[in-house]
Amino acid sequence: MNPSPTVVIAEDLSRAFGDFVAVDRVSFQVHRGEVFGFLGSNGAGKTTTIRMLCGLLSPSGGRAAVMGQDVAAHPMAVKRHIGYMSQRFSLYRDLTVRENLRFWGGAYGLRGRPLAEREAWAVEIGGLDGLEDSLVRHLPGGFAQRLALGCALLHRPPVVFLDEPTGGVDPEARRRFWDLIEGLSGGGTTVFVTTHYMDEAERCHRVALMHAGRLLAMDSIAGLRGVFGKAVLVEIHCPMAPQALATIARIPGVTETALFGERVHAVLEHSELQERVRKELAAAGFAPAELECIPPSLEDVFIHVIGEADRT
């Protein structure tokens, strides 16, 4: 028996709005208990993909299935198996914590004892003890976010879709939220999460990079770091880094440059090119320059992959 059955399948999933292709032939599979991260800038097609997987938007091409149910043919069956936390605030601010939980539980058809048990569970995981009768509008952002997650999980869905769940929340609350996600995953719940925070993506088991509607790369974090192949990523410290960027970019063999604060990240075709970069920088008056080979962060991977895609 397969220990990690496939929970979400997308095959050439596409969605066009008029002439604009928001999602372009995207294919992937997500397994049980996996934390699957969807990474990309705004407008990359992450939300459109999630909305199709949740049965909220019908695909204009390809197919997708969640828990074996086709999203286009049986959206209602899909909705029974999923929890969804949308990008926008999905709680009623003029209702209390308990009233929100009761309502969302009722919307999933729960009541009586099972509902009461799940309410208590959601209060516990959200750290909302003693706040049951507070209006949601008076809750700090992190608490509200955990309550929204609790609401989406009341009916014990095997899959939960979180669309940028931590937007506008402080780092401590974000960390707590991700601890919750890891707990869920450990309990066998599949978590499909979109984000544009790199540190969040690093906590995912697998990450898919999306750009302009297309899936550019999909792998584990370690696997993604391997996309550079023989090329190396160097971090360059030098005076006036923003101005030096152009000089570095002109050197043959430098395939990519990006500015990170006062440092430049450059991808060199091979490591011997480092000496040449140092010399060129000195000649252009940007001395002293320090070069250091670094392991690529997800952000570097992301920039690299997008750069490759834009070149082809």
């Binding site: 049965g55 909705k79 949308s86 601010r93 209702l95 309502f103 539980g105 009722g106 209006l135």
Partner: protein, 367 residues
């Protein structure tokens, strides 16, 4: 299904509980508006400034003049015997109407021959003029003696008699219309706002990802507004009865039945609008315009449908207030049974069914 609808309805009640101002407006405003409009919209004409020119000064002519003065609609502001003064008085606006009694009026009447009383009226306000003319005809008829001299028939006079609203008091005629008008506006606007609010807040997206069906959402959402609308309608009718002496001739149960039918259509229309509008502001304006204008102009509330051009008359068939108003007048003023107003009830049923189906269909696709 019942659980999901109940959850929705309970939540909606909680919103209303938290937003007491809106709830109070929805419940109390219709009755308050009714009182204001009821007094302001009176079509009754009183204190018409009258001049009397008596060129005869006989017993009969004084009797005729007295009849006009006594009836209570006129204020006698000028009296004389020269008919040429009338033009000056009307031009100057000092009087709105003038009664001119011709010379030898009494003598001619005594001979049993036909004689005319001249009634001159400022027709600038046509509606007032029509009403005053009606009064004048009735008074003139009452002073015309019916003589049977030597077996000859005297002038035959038609004496009009008005049923159901014997004093032609306009509040009694207008109040059912106002009830329909105010109810439609508050029901349509309130529901449209309630649904669009979910879209604006972003909660609609989350609702759509639950197994909640469009019809469950729609029913659960409208139940509280339905109850509030019903309570407001009852408040309106009680106010009409207490303040304007509106009679209650018919069955309260039938009244409730047609009110429910009308409310169902109005709520459905509100939900339909909410699927078209994206902001609360737009929903408010659409709701106000689409319920106020047709209900005011095309329902027979103020302008009788029978005197409209054929095209407009055809259009009135899609205005639900038309049916509600007709049924309301039949039930409240005449105490008529179902045999009389069933076509109107049918109209309400058809409207409600069509609108609710449309709304449910739109909600599935567009929200």
């Amino acid at each position: 299904m019942i659980r999901r609808i109940a959850a929705m309805a309970v939540k909606e009640f909680l919103h209303l509980k938290r937003d007491r101002r809106t709830t109070f407006l929805l419940l109390g405003m219709p009755a308050v508006l009714l009182v204001f409009y009821g007094f302001a919209l009176s079509f009754d004409v009183e204190h018409v400034r009258l001049a009397i020119v008596d060129q005869d000064n006989s017993r009969q002519s004084r009797e005729a003049a007295n009849a006009f003065v006594r009836c209570g609609f006129f204020d006698l502001v000028w009296q004389g015997d020269n008919a040429r003064d009338v033009e000056r008085l009307l031009d100057a606006g000092r009087v709105q109407a003038a009664l001119v009694i011709p010379p030898r009026y009494g003598a001619t009447l005594a001979q049993g021959r036909e004689v005319s009383l001249q009634f001159v009226l400022d027709g600038a306000d046509a509606r007032m003029a029509t009403t005053v003319l009606g009064y004048a005809r009735q008074i003139a008829a009452s002073v015309t003696p019916v003589t049977y001299a030597g077996g000859r028939m005297g002038p035959v006079v038609a004496v009009p008699r008005v049923w159901y609203n014997p004093n032609l008091s306009s509040p009694i005629f207008l109040v059912p219309g106002l009830v329909a008008f105010i109810m439609a506006i508050s029901a349509v606007v309130a529901t449209a706002l309630a649904v669009v609010r979910e879209k604006e807040r972003g909660t609609m997206e989350a609702l759509r990802a639950t197994p909640l069906r469009a019809i469950e959402l729609l029913v659960g959402k409208t139940i509280p507004y339905f109850l509030i609308g019903f309570a407001a309608a009852a408040g309106c009718l009680v106010t009409a009865w207490a303040v304007f002496d509106m009679p209650m001739q018919g069955s309260i149960i039938w009244l409730a039945v047609v009110t429910v039918l009308f409310l169902a259509g109005s709520l459905g229309w509100g939900v339909f609008l909410s699927t078209v509008a994206d902001t609360q502001q737009m929903a408010f304006q659409l709701g106000l315009l689409s319920s106020m204008l047709p209900n005011m102009l095309l329902s027979g509330f103020i302008f009788p449908i029978s005197s409209m051009p054929p095209v407009l008359r055809l259009i009135t068939h899609i205005v639900p207030a038309r049916y509600f108003l007709a049924a309301l007048r039949e039930i409240v003023l005449k105490g008529a049974g179902m045999t009389v107003w069933w076509p109107d009830a049918l109209g309400l049923v058809v409207f409600a069914a069509v609108v609710l189906l449309l709304a449910a269909g739109r909600i599935v696709r567009s929200l």
